[in-house]
Symmetry: C2
Subunit: 166 residues, 2 copies
């Protein structure tokens, strides 16, 4: 199998969080791909992730359940598309596990998206890039207005804090 083909980010359709974090990328990878770790950082407190299922291969399930401070639960179902250990993790909520088209978007994010987490070794730890692709500008703007950068930034802070205890 040849390598996947990823287009360059499109500034009108994509949201990007890029940051150098001072932890090794192997720990960032473990935090993203192990349910017991992911549940500890994946949602900005006081929201929590109370369940997580990961089948780490293309077509495999990526399922989370988020809980609001009021105790309401929001399930999210997606499918991995590309898995390169310590380098790149791609998944989408547009497909359910086994690549079946999703009937509807996740409950937390009311539109389809594909996320690409890229990790590169860096002198100070890891160059971390989170790219989220949307189908049209309206969804991109909606996601930005929902607080994409604050949300992904906060959870990355939580991930790094966790990684330092691992």
């Amino acid at each position: 199998m040849t390598r996947m083909n990823l287009a360059l980010p499109d500034p009108k359709l994509d949201l990007v969080l890029e940051r150098i974090v001072d932890v090794p990328r192997e720990l960032v990878w473990a935090a993203w791909t192990t349910p017991q770790h992911l549940k500890k950082w994946f949602t900005p407190l006081p929201w929590t992730t109370v369940d997580c299922e990961i089948d780490l291969r293309p077509g495999g399930i990526f399922r989370t359940v988020m809980r609001s401070p009021e105790g309401e639960e929001f399930p999210n179902l997606g499918c991995y598309l590309d898995v390169v250990t310590n380098e790149r993790l791609v998944w989408t909520n547009a497909l359910a596990p086994g690549y079946r088209p999703a009937a509807q978007p996740s409950s937390c994010v009311p539109f389809f998206f594909t996320a690409v987490i890229s990790l590169e070794a860096h002198a100070r730890g890891t160059k971390y890039t989170g790219l989220v692709m949307h189908s049209d500008e309206q969804h991109t703007q909606q996601h930005a207005a929902m607080g994409f950068h604050d949300g992904w930034g906060t959870t990355l802070d939580q991930l790094v804090a966790l990684a330092k205890t691992m």
Copy 2:
């Protein structure tokens, strides 16, 4: 990368065409993955396929343009998900190339689907299985009513006839 995870067919959500064809699977594979071949068999005559673009890797483009007998053209855009030479080809119209969520379904098929072509060597040639997965029963029934079995059967006849000349 570990192998993809494909669920068993769901009789309420999937349509399946399974047949033994008397040509080697290498030729069936070539017919599916080479634009110049695909254009000759992909649509039931008198419809034709007048353009085809293939980037045969996960995330790569699969684009066709069909032309009706009246001369109207219908573009279709999709993305490969899994490519195992001579064995399995998976693509979807729910994602555009590079795994970006599609804004809308193809013009010929007004809903999202994922197709899996599986080829197995067989004493009489090739065991050919075309599986099409849908998000819900309504789309499955709609696709069946559009003539899935006749359409895929006819185009497979066309593919086999072409393969015998290759």
